[in-house]
C-alpha cells in the first residue's frame, strides 16, 4: 500500500497524540528537572486519553459568516449585541463615576474631531489582555494532563495549570497580562479560575475598551464542547470593590472551517500605517 501523507485537519488532530508519544517515549536526560513529580508514562497516557479532543482552530462565533472579511454578518451583529448586553457591568457608584467620566471624555474627543478617532483601547497591537477568549482572533487549545494552553493568532497565550496546584501565595503574585490561571476537569468541562490580571475588564464598549478594575477582580470560566463545531464558555467576572454583582455571559465559539494554520495577525511593526498621533488615529495614505 502506498504510504499516504497525512495533512490538514487530520494531521492537526494527530499532532497532540504524536507529540505526547514523543515526550513519553524519550527519557529525560540525566539531571533534567520537572516542575511536578514524574508520573509514569502509562498513567500519563491514560490521563491524556480521558481528556477531550478540542483540536482544530476556533474563533468567537460572531465572526462566522463575515460578509467581506471586514464587516460582521447580520448574525454576527446579533451575536455581538447579545454579548454587549450580557457583559454589561453593574458598577458600584465609585466605579460607575469613573466609567462615566471616561465615556464622556471619549464622546467629547469624538465630537471635537470625528475624522480622527481617539485611541480608547489598549493595547493597540499585540496580545489582547485577559480575557483573550472574548477578543478577536483565531486560536487553538493545546491540552496536556498538566496544563491546557490557549494560543491565539493575535499573540495571546494563556497557560491554565491543571496539575492540582493552587494559585501562588499573595506575596508571590503581581498583575500580568493574562493573570494566573489554574483549572480542573469536570468530565469534558474545563473549569478555569483566574486572578492577578492587570485588573481590566473588557466592556464591549468604546472600541473594545478595557476598563480598570480593583485588585480583587476574579474570573471563572467553564469551557466545554457542545457539539463538534461549537465551544461554549460560561464566563463569570466578579469584583466586590468595582461591581455590585458578578457578570455572567455564555459565549459561543465556532470551529474555523476555512483556515487551518496558526499565523500571527498582529505584527504592527511590519507596516503600521494608522499610527496614533496625539492620542488619535491617523492614516498614512502613501
Amino acid at each position: 500500500m502506498t504510504p499516504r501523507l497525512i495533512t490538514g485537519i487530520a494531521a492537526r488532530r494527530l499532532l497532540p497524540a504524536v507529540t505526547l508519544m514523543l515526550i513519553v517515549g524519550c527519557p529525560l536526560p540525566a539531571g533534567a528537572q520537572t516542575s511536578s513529580p514524574q508520573t509514569s508514562s502509562k498513567a500519563r497516557v491514560e490521563a491524556f486519553a480521558k481528556l477531550p479532543d478540542w483540536s482544530g482552530m476556533w474563533e468567537l462565533d460572531a465572526f462566522v459568516g463575515q460578509s467581506d472579511g471586514q464587516q460582521f454578518s447580520a448574525e454576527g451583529q446579533r451575536r455581538l449585541a447579545y454579548y454587549a448586553a450580557a457583559l454589561k457591568p453593574a458598577f458600584t457608584p465609585e466605579y460607575q463615576a469613573k466609567f462615566d467620566a471616561i465615556r464622556k471624555e471619549v464622546a467629547a474627543a469624538v465630537a471635537a474631531d470625528p475624522n480622527h478617532p481617539p485611541m480608547t483601547h489598549q493595547p493597540l497591537c499585540g496580545a489582547p489582555p485577559f480575557p483573550a477568549t472574548l477578543t478577536p482572533g483565531m486560536y487553538e487549545w493545546l491540552i496536556t494532563p498538566e496544563e491546557t494552553d490557549f494560543i491565539s493568532t493575535v499573540g495571546a497565550v494563556r497557560h491554565i495549570y491543571t496539575d492540582g496546584r493552587s494559585h501562588p501565595p499573595k506575596d508571590e503574585l503581581w498583575p500580568t497580562l493574562m493573570g494566573d490561571s489554574i483549572g480542573h476537569w469536570e468530565g469534558g468541562t474545563l473549569v478555569i479560575d483566574t486572578i492577578a490580571t492587570k485588573q481590566r475588564l473588557y466592556t464591549g464598549e468604546l472600541s473594545g475598551f478595557f476598563f480598570p478594575m480593583s485588585d480583587q477582580l476574579h474570573f471563572v470560566e467553564r469551557v466545554r464542547m457542545i457539539d463538534r463545531d461549537h465551544m461554549q464558555i460560561d464566563y463569570t467576572a466578579e469584583d466586590p470593590i468595582a461591581l455590585t454583582k458578578p457578570i455572567h455571559a455564555t459565549i459561543l465559539h465556532s470551529r474555523v472551517t476555512d483556515f487551518n494554520r496558526m499565523v500571527e495577525e498582529e505584527d504592527c511593526e511590519e507596516n503600521e500605517r494608522d499610527p496614533v498621533v496625539n492620542g488619535r488615529f491617523t492614516t498614512v495614505v502613501k
Binding site: Q66, G69, G76, C125, D229, S254, F281, K286
Partner: protein, 116 residues
Amino acid sequence: MGTSAFAHHSRAMFDHTKQVNLVGTVKEFQWTNPHCWIQVLVPDPSNPGAAPVEWGVEMGAPVELMRKGWKPGSLNAGDKVTIVINPLRDGQHGGLEVSVTGPDGKIIGRPAPATQ
C-alpha cells in the same frame, strides 16, 4: 454601520455612507500586518495630461484576506483594477477597501462561508 472586525483600530476615520470608485493601475500591493494595502495610480479622465493621483487603500490583515479568497499574489504592480472604497473623512486620497475588480474583470475573493 458595521462593527469593525479590525482588532487594532477603530474604522471611524472612514465614511461608511460614501463609496468612491477608483479606476487605475496598481503601483504596489502590500501583503502585510497589521493591514494589507493597495497603492493605486488613478488618472483623471477629464485631464489626461496630468500625472495620476496615488491613492492608498486599506484592507484587512493577510489572514482575513486569505479567508475571503485572496492570496499574496492576487495583485501585482501594473494590474488594471477598479477598486470601490469608503473614503477617508479627512479628504486625503485614501479609503477602506469594499471590493476590487481585477484585470480579468472579476471581483477578487469571495464571501466568507455562511453562518453555521
